[in-house]
Amino acid sequence: MEEELFTSGRNIPNIDPSLQIWHWPISVYLFLGGLAAGLLFFAALFTIIKKEKETPTTVKYAAIIASISLIIGLLALFYDLTHKIYFWRLYTTVRIESPMSWGAWVLLIITPLSILWVFSYSNEIFPKLNLKFGFLKTFQKFLAKNRMNMAYALIPLSIVLGIYTGILLSAFNARPLWNNAILGPLFLTSGLSTAAATIILVSKSHFERKLFSKIDLGLIIIELALIVHMIMGYWAGSEVQLEAMQLLVNGDFTVMFFVFVIILGLIFPAVLEIIELKGYKVPVIVPALLVLLGGLIFRFVMVEAGQITRYLY
């Protein structure tokens, strides 16, 4: 038998008995950040390969969702800070070693860039909108002319943003559930997949919906493979990682993880998308909503379960 306890009566709020430092806003941000990264990546990609005409939703309307997601995500991050009036300290320094510093700077660039991207399409998105001031019209024309440059900037920025949502967690070796190198690519894939699902939801073009059903199917398969790799990594890991894995495969989060994330959030929508691509009629809203919901629950599971895991000594 082995037992360790605090005899001096330590019971610090949010620390004991297990960490509860990051709450729901962080999970919501990780989801929205990944979603925005995916949407902006697709918008930029289809602009660069000159397929704007075939994918109008991707390059125009979905970018509005990306901007709104980023703004809500930023508000959520700000809401979870406990020393809010000093938030500007993020922007008085660049800390190469700190993932959060990378994220803060990328968000500072990509959020306005996404709004400018939407503004560059303002005459097409809101045809009735009459820009009162002449300089706004000139500015809009200038942006439309430089759209390709914005696309080239968005590709690396959106990839960094998507990976960052995972690296933010995986950089902490004190939380064994998070501390694996695959979380960055996994969250990026999940972000791209939720973005594809969003485009399927809002697109009115049959071609676009079909194209993104195929893309989403591919991404779901990659995501499943990455999750298998993640579990294998824990399996082959040290004692602390084996214990962390128990939370997902045989513990408090097993139902959430296997039923809602893996089966309902990945496998079931993938099957529906295959059935649809075979030519049968499936309401596209079902797989798309399931992918989005699965992605959101995945972030909640990882953030909450990760904070329970720790080193024991």
Partner: protein, 177 residues
């Protein structure tokens, strides 16, 4: 200069005097603590082994909390002491997540707080509050780079360990066992 603390688990009786001394000296808010006592029981009666440890921030050499801090509020000063500048801290919680010892907490005012090795006392040539009050004199404090210091001598002559060395943080609170 490399400050370190050495705690003799064979002498510690777990009285929590160090905890109270720290709370008084550093004005730690009620319900919080920068150091604490862990009791470890191993074995089945009557073959039981008991270990008492006064624990706190380990002032790690490879401090993950300093690495992940996005503003540079967490930093290392001369002597290897890890400190938090409260008006640079945004309360993001990254350092708390990164600490394998759960030694940090959010002060009710919002910034992150932790053991400072009482560096304000060190500047005056005094020992940290916890060390100075220990009734069994089980705690030692000094410079590891000086081979003649009490801590260097103890670590040379006694069997000792650090907590969770596998976390790779190179902690500098040593326990004599």
């Amino acid at each position: 200069m490399r400050y370190a603390m050495v705690i003799d688990t064979k002498k510690c009786v777990g009285c929590s005097d160090c905890v109270v001394a720290c709370q008084t000296e550093n004005n730690v808010p009620i319900g919080y603590c920068r150091d604490w006592i862990t009791e470890r029981v191993e074995g089945v009666y009557p073959n039981i082994e008991l270990e008492l440890r006064s624990e706190r921030c380990n002032h790690c050499e490879n401090a993950p909390c300093v690495r992940c801090c996005p503003t540079g509020a967490s930093h290392i000063i001369d002597g290897g002491i890890v400190l938090v500048t409260d008006n640079e801290c945004i309360g993001c919680g990254a350092c708390i997540e990164s600490c394998p010892y759960d030694a940090r907490f959010q002060h009710p005012e919002g910034y992150v707080d932790k053991c400072t090795f009482c560096h304000h006392r060190l500047e005056k040539g005094e020992l940290p509050a916890c060390v100075s009050v220990c009734p069994t004199k089980c705690m030692y404090f000094g410079d590891l780079e000086n081979p003649n210091s009490e801590v260097s001598q103890l670590l040379r002559n006694r069997k000792h360990k650090t907590l969770a060395p596998e976390a790779g943080t190179k902690p500098h609170v040593y326990y004599l066992i």
